[in-house]
């Protein structure tokens, strides 16, 4: 059941919060192999449910009163272990909640366990060496994507009403696309990052993984503190389908879903045209230099003093980042400025961009490369190729399920202007509607 429907049913007392939580817990217990949670909901969650039940009985209000929301385990939760998917922080019990957790609690939500992630959120496979290899609920032989993989699993497998995630190169949108749910990475800074363990200071975003676009919209209001947007008229909006070399290497089944989304939007009265943004070709290098340097700055002491406390893949990334020169970082920021300028110019001509979220469907766990006609590409690189431009630019980006390819979910991405979440969500809702037909 979507989060908005859960909230309504609880308010109307058509649903008991205790029964609801029991149903979620039963699903968590039934699928331990998916490794959705690092710290499953425990006694503290039960106490919150009991208090929520009493408040509902007293007819108190709250947009999310009694609604269980799972939290990616890099957001600090007061008194609840926050590991960031690592061995280093395996016993960290923060003294305060992250700002997003505070906002959820204020809305009446129940903090419902801490979800699995790639170690320190630094990777997209979610094969966590300390807390277990997370598995895709659609096909457990496959990766759920990451780094917010546990949150996507929990949403898709019906273990919570919705979940929080973070996104530095695609970490909300990638698992949302590979598992089949909605992932919103809002405009940079729209949702506070205080109390979120950093990965890349200039690239990090906090956001949500949900069953529906309406759920994403409500959670965005709560997390950002912005009022509900006035209704957006989608008819006549201008959609730019991103073409060019960055979108050329794509599995045919995924490409077909993007074309279907473009056709559906045209049928719904939107004006769809192709756009090319050559500067997107610089994304991989720009993101690589920026993220490697920033993450290694976060981990500067630990990677030198205790390198064996990291899993192999994260250790190599952090060691590499320690070698990035200041000159390279500056060059990357110059490229980043040009990418931002190019995107600004495109948004003079269109209102939203449309492209695939990932060029491939969920890879089999352990697969390292994807083979295209002329070349091979590392799977990690392929997965972030279409998402990371919008971490570099900070623009809002939404991944919406849009059918399947070979029996696996496909997500399409809607990207908007700075702070234009209302249009992004409105176009996402149009796609959601026809994708369900």
């Amino acid at each position: 059941m979507p989060m908005t429907a859960v909230a309504r049913a609880l308010r109307a007392r058509a649903l008991s919060p205790l029964e609801l939580v029991d149903a979620y817990l039963a699903r968590i217990d039934a699928a331990p192999e998916l490794r959705a949670f690092i710290t499953p909901p425990g006694a503290a969650a039960r106490r919150q449910v009991q208090r929520a039940a009493e408040r509902i009985a007293r007819r108190e209000t709250g947009a999310l009163l009694g609604v269980p929301i799972a939290i990616k385990d890099l957001f600090a939760t007061r008194g609840v272990r926050t590991t960031v998917g690592s061995k280093i922080l395996r016993d960290w019990q923060p003294g305060a909640d992250a700002a997003v957790v505070t906002r959820l609690r204020k809305a009446g939500a129940i903090v419902f366990g801490k979800t699995n992630l790639h170690e320190f959120a630094y990777g997209v496979s979610n094969a966590n060496p300390w807390w277990g290899v997370a598995r895709n609920p659609v096909d457990p032989r496959r990766s759920p994507g990451g780094s917010s993989g546990g949150s996507a699993i929990a949403v898709v497998a019906g273990m919570c009403a919705a979940a929080l995630g973070s996104d530095t190169g695609g970490s909300i949108r990638i698992p949302a696309a590979l598992c089949g749910c909605v992932g919103l990475k809002p405009t940079r800074g729209a949702v506070p990052l205080q109390g979120a363990f950093p990965l890349g200071w200039s690239l990090d975003h906090a956001g949500s993984l949900t069953r529906t676009v309406a759920d994403a919209s409500l959670l965005f209001q709560i997390l950002s503190g912005r009022p509900a947007p006035s209704r957006v008229r989608t008819r006549g909006l201008r959609v730019g389908v991103v073409r060019g070399s960055i979108t050329e290497r794509i599995q045919p089944g995924v490409g077909a879903r993007v074309e279907a989304a473009a056709r559906g939007l045209r049928r719904a009265g939107l004006r769809v045209r192709d756009v090319t943004i050559p500067e997107l070709d610089w994304t991989v290098a720009t993101q690589l230099v920026t993220l490697r340097a920033e993450a290694s700055a976060v981990h500067a002491r630990w990677i030198r003093q205790r390198p064996r406390s990291y899993g192999t893949d994260v250790r190599v990334r952090l060691q590499l980042g320690a070698l990035v020169s200041g000159v390279d970082y500056v060059v990357a920021q110059r490229a980043r400025d040009r990418l931002r300028d190019a995107l600004d110019r495109v948004f003079d001509a269109v209102d939203v961009l449309l492209l695939a979220t990932t060029p491939i469907t969920a890879p089999v766990i352990g697969e390292r490369v994807v083979r295209w006609r002329a070349a091979e590409e590392p799977i990690d690189g392929a997965l972030v190729r279409l998402t990371s431009p919008f971490n570099l630019s900070g623009l809002p980006a939404l991944s919406v399920p849009c059918g399947e390819a070979g029996g696996l979910p496909v997500g399409v991405q809607v990207v908007g202007r700075w702070n234009d979440e209302p249009r992004v969500l409105a176009v996402g809702q149009v796609i959601e509607e026809f994708a369900q037909e």
């Binding site: 991989v284 320690a322 060059v331």
Partner: protein
């Protein structure tokens, strides 16, 4: 003795204060090579405006 790329990487790593075991170097070397190639491409794209009278 010729200096190999691996030697150079080990030296750069030491200068950065990293403790790189032999197995670390094995894993880091391909990532380092890919990094260098990407950065060179990026530098070629983001060239400064020409400065006259200073050559």
């Amino acid at each position: 003795m010729p200096v190999t790329e691996r030697d150079r990487l080990a030296a750069v790593g030491r200068a950065a204060g990293l403790r790189l075991a032999s197995s670390d170097l094995d894993r880091l070397l391909p990532a380092w090579k890919r990094y260098i190639a990407l950065v060179e491409e990026l530098r070629a794209q983001v060239v400064p405006e020409p400065i006259h009278g200073d050559d």
